[in-house]
Structures are given as C-alpha cells and as structure tokens.
C-alpha cells in the first residue's frame, strides 16, 4: 500500500533567485522534465522525475525563486500557494528541498528559517559548495545542521555532486513523516499570515547567531565579480560594452541565422517540389504544396533567428550580466516611468512579446507591471522580421549608404529604432494618463558572475524550439490551410476562367477576394489594396502568417511564369514604394498577434487591457501608416 503511495510522491525545490535551484533541478532530473502552466495563470510549472534505485519515481517540482513567503510578484505567489497547499488540484509537496547558495549564507538562510515554520519536512541543499570553499568558507556542517534542525547536504549542482545524497535524505524525511503521521490526521491547507517587519528582523538575527556558532571563517566576497563590475558598470566602458553586446545580438540575428535559414528554405521548397511530383494535380496537391508546405515553411525559416536571440538572452541572464544591464538602463526606464527590471521584458520582446510579457512577472507593483505589458508588444519582435525582410528586400535598393552600412540595413535599423522608441514613448504617455502613480521603486540583486551552464542553455533552447514548432504545427498550419481555402474557393467555372484569365485571376472571386475587396475602402488611404487586405486578416492571428498568406495569395493568383519567381519580385512588380513603406510602418505598430492578446488577458485577468491594447495599437498603426503613405506619395514615389 505504501509503495503505491510513495511512487507518486511529489517534492518541491525552493530557494532564493540565483541560488542554483534550476541547476539542481536539471542535475536531479536530467531531461525528464515537462513544462506546463499552473491553472489560470501563465506561471510555468516545471515538473521532473527522479528514478529511484528501487524502481520507484520521485516527482520534483521546481518552484519559482523567492526571497520570502511574503510574495511580491505573481511568480512568488505561486511558490507560496503551492507550499501552503492553496492551489486547486495541486497537492502540497511531501517534502521540500531548500536550495541555498553556500557562498552567501548570511542572506539565504532567512528563507530557510521561514520555511522551517511550515509543516513540511525540509532538506537543505548547500549548493555551490566548491565555490564557497574556494572563497574561504569554513563551516562546521554538523553544528550547522543541528542548529538549523534540518539535514544539510553539500552539493555542486553543475557538476552533479551531492544529488544522490539529496535523494536519499529526501526519502528518509518522507518515510519519517509517513510513520509519524500514521496516528495523526493531516490537513492539506496551512494557515499563514504576512509577517511583521520585526519578525523579519528576528529571523536575520537568528541567522547571524547560527552562523556565528557554526562558521570558523566566512566566505570572502567574489573578487572576480567586483573586478568585472568595475569594468561592466564603468560610466564609459560599461555603457559601451552594453551597446556592443546589443549590437552583437542584432548582428548575430541577421547574419548568423541566414545560413541555417537558407538551408531550411531550400529544404522546404525541395520538399514542396518532391511532394508535388508524387501527386496528381488536384485540390489535395494544391492544398499540400500551396497551402501547407509554403505556408508553414515560410514561418519555420525564422526558427534560427529566434533561437539565436534566446541563446543570447539565456547566456546573459545565466551569467549575471542581464541584471547589470537593467541596473545601467534603470535611469532610462525610470525616466519614462518604467521599472528598471522592465529592461529584461523589453529585451525579450525583441524575440517575442509573449516571453517578454511573461517575464514582467518579476515586477512587483501591478501598475508598473501593466505599463510594461502594454508597451512590450510595440517592441520589434522576431515575427515582424519576416515581413520587414520581405518588404525591404523587395523595395529598398541595395546601395552603399553610410560607411560600411548599406541602404537595406539602414531601413531595417530605422524600423527597429522606431520599434524601440515607440514602447518608451508610449510608456511615458501611459504613466501620465491611464496609469498615473508613484514612481516605481527598484530593489534588485546583482548576482555574482558565473559561467553560464551549457545544460541550462541547451534545455532552454529545446523548450523554445518545442513551443515554436508546436505553434507552427497548430496555429500557423491551420491558418495557412484556411487562407489557402478562402483564396482557392469558390472556383471560377472553367469556361469563365478561360475568357477572363488574363484580366481577372481566380482569386478575385474567391471568398478571400470578396473579403479583401470588402475591407479595401478602409485600407485604401494607407495604400493597401485588396490583396494586402487578404493577408492582413489572417495576419491578425500571427504576424508572420501575413508573409505566408501573401505567398499563398500570389501563388494562387500567379500564372506559370510568375509562380517561378520569388514572392519579393512579384511584390516589387505590383506595389509602389509608398505602399511597401506604409505596410512596414503598419507592422511596427499593429497588434497583429492573437497569442499576445490572449496572454495579456491571462496576465491582467481581464479582457479590458487586451482590448485597450488592440485599440490603441491599431489606432497608432493606422495613423502612422496613413502619414507614411501620404508623405512618401507626396515625394512622388507613390507611382
């Protein structure tokens, strides 16, 4: 009986941010992890499995890092609620591993003392023990463990040291509780109330007492961190290095990604040709080649870029540099009324607004957080890149511009600049109108620098790839099929087609054509015709679908001669520069991403802010596109 109960035991990992909690989670579970969401919120629920020697399995939950149970952010609330058994459908953990940064006991033990008051067995993982020893820590483990009344296991998570001992200690703790509680009845939900400030003071005094008793020599500050910070936070060098790092990231996104992107592109088109050659002409072949393969393929091409950006963000975050960047940027962020930490969500939003919005969960004040959420989607995300690349490639001549820069790069840079200034400006506007309030506070730890762990980065990238491909395989696939269907049906009767083929392509009379024509009057002032209208409609679901939709529309419309030429050439032949620039500007501002709107709804718990986002961004986009089209046409490039 106890075996079946034990085999599904759930334990949890808790600890301060940067205590190496996730490294220990990775070391304990390897790749046996699954990521889901807690019900009703977008906080990631990371669960892993540890196979035990006797064949049973221990389930481990990696809780978000927290400084105390007095939660300040939605992430920390989850940690508190899981530990208190307050989450529906989530059993409170049978035991808790508290991960402590051994190089910084003075500060980490406060949480341990707080968690000790919960009715759950604790095991303390004294992580980064090798570093702590190197920096002079001389700790009497036995006294330490006795004073804390908790089993203490020294670990080095990145080297898998101590993981077996942790598992043994946890099993012992669970078994002991199981024996003790056989007589008593256990209540799942625990009571907890906000501690008084004096309780926090008492806790730290107790920490000092325990450390005085058990340490013979304490850890010296990291010399490396101080030396590196003297450079990285230097008034001139610090900012120059930050500028260089950002420049390197963008350079990498555009140049390193082009080779793998080319492989994917030629792979996709070869696959399309191969599938086409196997099948007889007909609607099914049309659907597969023009709908599915060309639609999904045009989006999967951007996987390398997204992975490169995330690799940078993961490495920078893991190393401790990202917190420094936020520290340096606080003045600018604070100047427009954003929290210093808003820098990280905004940087992530260059990859995708969704992880950006999710990372605002580290911002404590709801108003500060909302301001960041509302402007993050204005940042130039990677889904806009396909649109920009296509349009810049088709309409901007590749000429030398200034020094090593060429015109195409300059236009792209200008679009990114616009996508950087827009969120800052709008944050300033919101903080003076709808989100008036006191200036946000900044209180943030600058962690000790460390080598990023390869395993952590790889696992993070694998996760991103899965999410992206799942999206490509579901949302984008179904939308591609939908666009294909709407643009292909109803078919023009065969004889009609013969008479009118040269003047009126089949797509005109399709559903999509009808829809496109219906919205054309609205879009005319922006320089868009009905074909852009067709592409914009599914583009509201996801920006990059606009490219595949245009590809599908033009593939269906085109005759034999034009099908051979690339989409960019076809666009160059049929659009004016004013239309192209207007469309680029539209994409700087337009809220064309259903997933973002859905995430904003979940994160703000109401549709109100999603609708606000939709309305204000659409209005901005319309206005900006209109002005662009008028101005460029006025210069005589309207054709």
């Amino acid at each position: 009986m106890s075996v079946s109960l034990q085999s599904s035991s759930l334990i949890a990992l808790a600890g301060l941010p940067n205590s190496g909690k996730t490294s220990l989670f990775n070391a304990l579970t390897g790749s046996r992890q699954k990521v889901a969401n807690y019900p009703g919120v977008t906080v990631e629920r990371k669960e892993g499995a540890i196979p035990l020697p006797d064949g049973r399995v221990l389930r481990v939950l990696d809780l978000p890092g927290t400084y105390s149970l007095d939660a300040r952010t939605p992430d920390e609330e989850i940690t508190r609620d899981v530990l208190l058994g307050r989450i529906q459908g989530e059993a409170p953990p049978a035991a808790l591993i508290v991960v402590v940064d051994a190089t910084n006991l003075e500060r980490n033990l406060g949480l341990v003392l707080e968690l000790r008051e919960l009715k759950v067995p604790l095991v303390l993982a004294l992580n980064m023990m090798d570093l702590a020893k190197k920096r002079g820590l001389d700790l009497d483990l036995e006294t330490f463990s006795n004073e804390l009344q908790i089993p203490v296991i020294p670990t080095v998570a990145v080297k898998n040291t101590g993981t077996d001992q942790i598992v043994t200690a946890v099993n012992l703790a669970i078994d002991r509780v199981a024996q003790e509680s056989r007589s008593k009845t256990k209540t799942g939900v625990q009571t907890w109330s906000k501690p008084e400030a004096s309780a926090v003071r008492d806790r730290f005094n107790e920490v000092d007492r325990i450390l005085r008793k058990s340490t013979r020599r304490s850890t010296a500050p990291s010399l490396w961190t101080e030396r590196l910070d003297r450079l990285f936070l230097h008034p001139i060098f610090g900012l120059s290095i930050l500028a260089l790092v950002l420049a390197l990231i963008f350079q990498a996104i555009f140049s390193w990604a082009s080779l793998p992107a080319d492989w994917i592109e030629s792979g996709v088109s070869a696959f399309g040709v191969w599938v086409g050659s196997l099948m007889a002409d007909g609607p099914l072949k049309d659907l597969l080649v023009n709908g599915v393969i060309s639609g999904v393929g045009s989006v999967v091409v951007f996987l390398p870029q997204i992975l490169i950006l995330f690799a940078f963000i993961l490495v920078l975050e893991d190393s401790g540099y990202l917190a420094r960047a936020a520290f340096m940027m606080d003045r600018i962020m604070g100047g427009v009324g954003l929290h210093g930490r808003a820098f990280i969500p905004l940087l992530s939003s260059y990859a995708c607004a969704i992880p950006g919005i999710l990372s605002t969960r580290t911002i404590a004040n709801p108003r500060d957080r909302l301001a960041t959420i509302l402007v993050a989607p204005l940042t130039t995300c990677s889904a806009r890149l396909p649109v920009y690349t296509l349009l810049v490639g088709a309409f901007v001549p590749d000429r030398p511009f200034l020094g090593p820069f060429r015109t195409q790069g300059a236009v792209l840079f200008a679009l990114y600049l616009l996508g950087t200034l827009a969120p800052l400006t709008m944050a300033w506007v919101f903080r003076r109108t709808v989100l008036k309030g006191p200036k946000p506070t900044l209180l943030m730890e600058l962690p000790t620098y460390k080598m990023p762990s390869l395993r952590g980065v790889v696992l993070g990238l694998v996760e991103r790839t899965k999410i992206f491909l799942r999206r490509a395989g579901t949302v984008i696939l179904s939308l591609s099929v939908l666009v294909w269907f709407l643009s292909s049906y109803p078919k023009v009767p065969a004889q009609g087609q013969q008479n009118q083929a040269s003047v009126m392509p089949a797509i005109h009379s399709s559903y999509a054509g009808t829809l496109g024509h219906a919205v054309e009057p609205l879009l005319r002032p922006l320089g868009f015709d009905w074909r852009v209208g067709i592409a914009l409609i599914p583009g509201f679901a996801a920006r990059e679908v606009m490219v595949s939709a245009l590809a599908t529309v033009y593939a269906i419309e085109g005759d034999e001669a034009t099908v051979e030429s690339a989409l960019s050439e076809r666009l160059a032949a049929s659009w004016t520069l004013a239309t192209a620039l207007s469309l680029m500007v539209w994409y700087v501002f337009a809220p064309q991403c259903l997933s973002t709107l859905a995430v904003v709804r979940r994160e703000t718990n109401s549709w109100r802010w999603s609708i606000f986002l939709l309305v204000y961004m659409t209005a901005l986009a319309y206005l900006a596109s209109f002005l662009t089209y008028r101005l460029v046409s006025g210069f005589g490039w309207g054709g």
């Binding site: 007095d70 008034p235 730890e445 600058l446």
Partner: protein
C-alpha cells in the same frame, strides 16, 4: 568619539557603514528592504553607481550586491563604523 549618522543615499562610494534604521514610504517596502538583507546592524558599502547620473546605486550588504535607487536609499540611516570615517 561621536559616531556620525547619515542616509545611505548620501554615503560616499567605498565607505563602510553600519545600518542603524530602515524606514520607507510603506510597510511593504520596509519588509522588502529587510528581506534583501538591508537590516539593522548589518554592514553596508556603496560599491557602484549607475553610469547615467549616478542613480541607482549598488550596495554590498550581507554578502550580496543590491541595486536600489537613491530615493529608497534615503530612508535607510547608517552610521560610519568607527572614527576612521568621521575624523
């Protein structure tokens, strides 16, 4: 020997001092400051200033580097640890 006390926001870079009181605009913020280790009796030192305008600052306290703005730092009173700072 009188010990000189001043707000943390005005402490010179590199000078060590002891925290003698922690106050802020709200009780929540006080608790947050305490939880970050800015606690009475702990030694503190301003280690870095942000490049743009010298605000926020980064202080070393209880073995960690904590970034905060001068405005919040103004609510924390410190005293120079010995005559070395004052004289």
């Amino acid at each position: 020997m009188s010990k000189k006390s001043l707000p943390l926001g005005q402490l010179k870079k590199g000078v060590r001092a002891r925290i003698i009181s922690v106050s802020a605009s709200s009780e929540d913020l006080v608790r947050n400051l305490l939880e970050m280790g800015l606690i009475e009796g702990s030694m503190v030192r301003v280690v870095h200033q942000a490049p743009l305008g010298g605000d926020p600052i980064a202080v070393e306290v209880r073995g960690a580097l904590i970034a905060l703005r001068r405005q919040e730092a103004a609510g924390i009173t410190v005293e120079l640890s010995d005559s070395g700072g004052a004289s």
